[in-house]
Amino acid sequence: MDCSTSSNVPGEGYCHQAVHLEEGMALECGVHIAPLEIAYRTYGKLSQARDNAILICHALTGDQYVAEPHPFTGKPGWWSRMVGPGLPIDTDRFFVICSNVLGGCMGSTGPRSICAETGKPWATEFPPITMHDIVAAQAKLIDHLGVGRLFAVIGGSMGGMQVTTWAADFPERVFAAMPIATSPFHSAQNIAFNEVSRQAIFADPQWHDGHYRDFDAIPARGLAVARMMAHITYLSEEALSRKFGRRVRRDGATAQPAASSPSLFGEMFEVESYLRHQGSTFVRRFDANSYLTITRAMDYFDLAAEHDGDLASPFRSSETRFCVVSFSSDWLFPTSQSRLLVRALNRAGANVSFVEIDSDRGHDAFLLDEPDFDRTITGFLNGAAEHAGLKAGQI
C-alpha cells in the first residue's frame, strides 16, 4: 500500500501494518494476484514453543483493529471487550493475530489496491474471491509470523465461515476452532439481503460503474443504504423495540422548522435516526467495491456443496476440537444452521461442543456483553489449552 498519497478517500494514505508478499497468491478463480499485501495486528507475545497463537477472523465489515482504537474512527476495537489482558481471549496468555481479509479495505490487497498489469486500482475488476482464498491468504501471514499450528481460530458471522474453512482446509494447523453465529453455507435469505445491499450501491449516481475513484467520488448514499438495511438484520425485533420503541425525535437538525403546513417527515422516529447514523459513519471507513467483493465471497460459501453435499467429509479424521456457538434470537445465522454444522461434525466423529446462548439481541449478540458467552469462550479455551499441554496462566 502506498502510504504517502494524500487523498480525501477514507483510509487512503494511512499506513497499516502489513506483510508484503511479492510472489502473491493463486486464487480459486484461476487468477494469480501479485504482489499480495496482508494487513494485520497482533497482541500479546508468541511463546517460545510457538504454541499459543490465536487467529481471530473478522466479520463482513470488521477489520484487524480488534482490540485497540480504530485509527480512523477512534472507536474502541470491535471486540475489545473480548480480547485483551485478563479478558476471555487473554492477551497475557495468548498471542492474538487479526488480519484484514483479502478483498478488504484496511490495508490488505483488495479492490482499492493497484493492479500490477494496468497500474490502476482494481475497482470492479478485482477478481472474485472465496472463503478459501481469504483463508489461504491468512495462512501465508501465519507462515510469515513463524506459527506452524494455531492454538485456536475464532470468529463470528463471516469470521465463523473462515474458522470453518480453516478447519476444513488446514486441519493439522488448527488445534481448536470456534465458529460463532455462523453457518456452513450462505442461505438464500442472506444472499437476498446481500443483493439488496449491492443494488443500493449500484443505484447511487456516484457509483460510476465502480470507477467512482476516477471521479473523486464515493457512492456514499448507496453504501449507507446498504449498511442501514444490513444493520437491521444484525438486530432483532425485541432489541429494536427495547432500544427505540416508537419514540420520536422532535429536536435537532433533522426536524423541520416550525412550519405553517404539516410535513410528512416533519418528525423522525429514533430508529430512523439511528440507522441513518449507522449508514453515514460506515461510508467513512468502508469501500463500496470491497463491500461487493466480500459479500460475494459470502454468497458463494457452501462447504457441503464442495464435497458432494456431504458436510462431514472435510472434517473426517480431524483432530480439531470444535466449539460451535449460536444465539437464540439470531435470525440471520439461526441456531438451526449451527446445528447442521454440529451434526456434520458428529458424523465426522469430531470433538465438538455446542452452545446456544440465550439472548434477545439478535446476530450482533456475539459482539455485545453476554456473560454466558464470555464464560463459554474462557472455558473452551482453558479446556483446549489443557489438552494442548499449554502452560496455565501467563506466559
Binding site: 454440529v342 456434520a344 458424523r347 466423529g349 470433538n351 465438538v352 461442543s353 452452545v355 473452551f380
Partner: protein, 204 residues
C-alpha cells in the same frame, strides 16, 4: 459425583472413548477425563448445564437422546452412557438401538418401577406412587416411559442384546445386594444399571 456415577466410571476401561448422553453438570465426563484419561464427551438437553459444562472446559453439546444420536457413525465410541433418563426419552427402544449402534458397550441406568414401595403405594392408595425417585405428579412428569427391571430384560431379549453386567442400586446410588436374583432385584432394587452389547443375532 453421585455414587452410581462412580459405579459407572469403574465399569469403563481407561483411555476409551465415551459419550455420556444426558451429561448434566458434566461430573462423569470430567471424572473420566481426569482419572481414566478417557476421551469423554457429553450431550445435554438443559442449556444451563451445557453452558456450565463448556465454561468448565468440557466437550458438551446441546442436544438430546431422541434426536441427536442418529448423526454419529457406527461404533464411534467404546461406551455410550445413559444415566437415569431412559424412562424420560420419547422412544426408549430407538434410543437403545442408536446407543448400541454408535457404541460398543452401553451403560444404562433407570429407576425401577417394580420397586416394592411403588407397588405397595399403588395397591393401598390406588393412586400413582410418589417417592423420592418418582417425585412428580403424573400430569407433569418427564418420566413418560416407566419400566421395571423385568420389562427391561424382556426388551433386551427381544432386541438380542447381551447383558454383560447388571446391578440393582438404592436411592443414594449405592450397590444393593440383589445380585443373584432378578426377581428379588425387581422388588427390592430402587434403580437398576445394565451394561450391554449387541448380540451376534442383532448385528444386522
Amino acid at each position: 459425583m453421585r455414587v452410581d456415577q462412580r459405579l459407572i466410571a469403574e465399569m469403563i476401561e481407561p483411555r476409551s472413548r465415551v459419550l455420556d448422553v444426558g451429561s448434566g453438570d458434566g461430573a462423569l465426563i470430567e471424572h473420566l477425563f481426569r482419572t481414566r484419561a478417557c476421551d469423554a464427551r457429553g450431550i445435554e438437553i438443559n442449556m444451563q448445564d451445557v453452558t456450565q459444562s463448556v465454561a468448565h472446559g468440557l466437550p458438551v453439546m446441546h442436544g438430546d437422546a431422541d434426536h441427536d444420536l442418529a448423526y454419529y457413525p457406527d461404533d464411534t465410541f467404546d461406551y455410550v452412557v445413559l444415566q437415569r433418563t431412559l424412562q424420560a426419552v420419547e422412544r426408549p427402544r430407538e434410543v437403545l438401538r442408536q446407543m448400541l449402534r454408535i457404541g460398543r458397550h452401553v451403560i444404562v441406568s433407570f429407576p425401577n418401577f417394580g420397586y416394592w414401595k411403588l407397588r405397595l403405594q399403588l395397591l393401598t392408595s390406588g393412586r400413582m406412587p410418589m417417592t423420592a425417585v418418582w417425585n412428580t405428579p403424573w400430569y407433569i412428569t418427564p418420566n413418560i416411559h416407566p419400566c421395571t427391571i423385568r420389562d427391561f430384560l424382556a426388551l433386551c431379549e427381544e432386541e438380542g442384546y447381551v447383558i454383560e453386567r447388571w446391578l440393582a442400586i438404592d436411592e443414594g446410588g449405592a450397590k444393593a445386594p440383589w445380585r443373584r436374583s432378578i426377581r428379588l432385584a425387581n422388588i427390592f432394587g430402587e434403580q437398576a444399571m445394565f451394561m450391554l452389547h449387541k448380540g451376534s443375532a442383532s448385528i444386522r
